[in-house]
Amino acid sequence: MNILEVKNVNKRFGGLQALGNVNLNVAENTVHAIIGPNGAGKSTLLNCLVGKLIPDTGSVMFDGRSVLGRKPYEINQMGISRVFQTPEIFGDLSVQENMLIPCFAKRDGAFALNGYGSVGSQRDVIDKAEEMLVEMKLADKRHMHAASMSRGDKRRLEIAMCLAQDPRLLLLDEPTAGMARADTNNTIDLLKQIKEERDITIAIIEHDMHVVFSLAERITVLAQGTPLVEDTPDNIKGHPKVREAYLGESQDAA
């Protein structure tokens, strides 16, 4: 069954056709990677999924419901969580407080005027946050100022915050961009572990072929705003069209 169905999506910025007739189906409980050279429309597509952009035409269905016209927070409450290219966390707050916020969002919804009881008295949320901190190996950093953590830890915290909401679809936007090889491998292991332990669908946009081929079960190749091919990693590797559009260009760029 497909959890995400993108049909005939078009998006134009002035004279630039960023997305042209994009069709994409992401099956439930798989890891689906979207790759493509710079300017292929990967980020535009992602922004159309989370409500940051609204496509000119076409439909985006998540779990049988349209996400178009909904605000990012509404789409998140439907079960889509997004990890950003540069980790977006609450830098001014402690790691523990960072973890509490998605737990409150999960329990209380988009808005709750919960101004009387103290944070410390909300045992269920505190316990849930603590559980996630332990699971993601951040427990010893719980009192740390989130902004002062290393990039890898920030990424780990951001993923933990997304998982605390028990999303059905996790979107990752170049999760290893700008990371050292060791951090990249850690992130790959983390994502593999998440996939094993949870019923979750992961859609990942990535430049790094090493990451894509170690994680993905299906790969869609995007070039100039249109999907070129969609197949398993093994078939993608040898596909002539992909070599031409993607690998060829990356050699030029290098």
Binding site: V50, K71, P72, Y73, E74, N76, Q77, S81, R82, F84, E88, I89, F90, G91, D92, L93, S94, E97, L100, I101, P102, F104, A105, K106, D108, G109, A110, F111, A112, L113, N114, G115, Y116, G117, S118, V119, G120, S121, Q122, V125, H143, H145, M161, Q165
Partner: protein
């Protein structure tokens, strides 16, 4: 106790103690000594301390927690004052309906202004609030004269209906007969302490306001407001709608401002448009930053500090200076007074401005940070062997 942790309870009790003992603590100098002019323990000034304390505590809920810098909060102060005076004209000289209405009207008013202004953030939000406040000021000053009595200001008069008051009711704001300006003066030796009804009413309300603000700071709601300040993008992508959070903070701070405005009118039953002017809005920003934005105690300290300066420092004129430096030879005395002159009396703003600059540059966390640094210095000296426990306190 009271749903607070030990530390917060300590802060609350400290503030309560200081507020209750203020008439004594603020009068450290004998009444007939040369230093008596530095005594701040007279009702009028103490009322200002706590009323502007309330104003700043409320402002801090918006600015300190969410980071939204409003330049229009004096509008709510003014609206509160007008509402309170109208209540005293129409219903009763009892201050309770006056204060209640001032909070409610300021709250409604802030829903409208907040709803529009919060469509933008950053500098655009500040400009919108400033524009609204100036609009309110000008309306009160001219167009709405039938309601606000324009330039003269709204006052009470003997011909007011006051439908709830009997024939013998007091003609001055009162709390069930206890007039706001009634006071008992107790002389101890050459010291003189004044305890007034008005001050203690204001101080009690300030403590309630302070207590509510502690609860908000420590609540999940307060955590969300701090998250708004930190990263709105992440909030939106964590399924949280930031708009109602910011609007709620705006309205709560507007109601605090209304309470302060109502109390100003209850202490002295008149309301003028100048209370809504942008300088008044700027003053509360200064108080909050000077004391320490986002801290519990900061706004109270900042309000006290600025009001003390405004009332005491401005009283130091050349005659006083001559009195102080009369032991020096004439030439030097005149020279020193010429140098000090611009900084005192009417020039107190200059001193305040310099202090403000020093605080912002060297103590970005305000006076509270200064206190914390001093505290840390002492603690380090006392127990060098103690390892820090690593717990972080986001707000003091």
């Amino acid at each position: 106790m009271l749903g607070l942790n030990k530390k917060d309870l300590g802060v609350l009790l400290l503030v309560a103690l200081l507020a209750m003992a203020a008439p004594i603590l603020l009068n450290p100098f004998p009444a007939d000594s040369g230093m008596a002019q530095f005594n701040a323990g007279y009702p009028d000034l103490m009322q200002r301390f706590v009323i502007f304390g309330i104003f700043a505590i409320g402002y801090n809920i918006l600015f300190g927690l969410t980071g939204y810098l409003s330049f229009g909060h004096a509008a709510f102060l003014g609206v509160g004052s007008y509402s309170a005076v109208w209540m005293m004209k129409l219903l009763s000289m009892n201050v309770i309906p006056a204060i209640l209405l001032s909070v409610i009207v300021a709250g409604l008013f802030s829903v409208v202004i907040g709803y529009v202004s919060l469509r933008r953030s950053g500098i655009y939000f500040s400009i919108l609030t400033l524009a609204f406040a100036q609009m309110s000021f000008n309306l009160a000053y001219s167009v709405l004269t039938p309601i606000t009595n324009g330039e003269t200001g709204l006052q009470i008069s003997l011909s007011d209906p006051r439908i709830l008051d009997g024939a013998n009711a007091p003609s001055y704001p009162n709390l069930f007969g206890a007039q706001m300006n009634s006071a008992a003066t107790i002389d101890v030796g050459s010291w003189s302490f004044t305890f007034s009804v008005g001050y203690y009413l204001c101080a009690l309300l300030m403590l309630v306001a302070f207590y509510i603000s502690i609860r908000i700071f420590r609540s999940p709601f307060g955590l969300m407001l701090r998250a708004v300040k930190s990263n709105q993008q992440r909030m939106n992508y964590t399924g949280l709608n930031t708009k109602p959070y910011t609007l709620a903070a705006f309205v709560i701070s507007g109601m605090y401002a209304g309470l302060a405005g109502g109390l100003l009118a209850a202490m002295d039953p008149l309301a003028g448009a100048e209370r809504m002017q942008w300088t008044a809005s700027g003053e509360v920003v200064l108080m909050t930053i000077l004391g320490g934005a986002g801290t519990l105690l900061g706004p109270v300290l900042g309000a006290g500090f600025i009001k003390y300066f405004e009332n005491i420092f401005s009283k130091i004129n050349d005659n006083v200076l001559h009195g102080w430096f009369s032991f020096m030879p004439d030439g030097i005395e005149d020279f020193i007074i010429t140098i000090i002159h611009p900084f005192v009396g009417k020039g107190w703003h200059l001193t305040l401005g310099l202090l403000f600059m020093l605080v912002v540059i060297f103590l970005p966390g305000g006076l509270v940070e200064g206190g914390q640094r001093i505290g840390r210095l002492f603690r380090r000296k006392k127990a060098d062997t103690n390892t820090p426990d690593g717990t972080k306190t986001p707000a003091e």
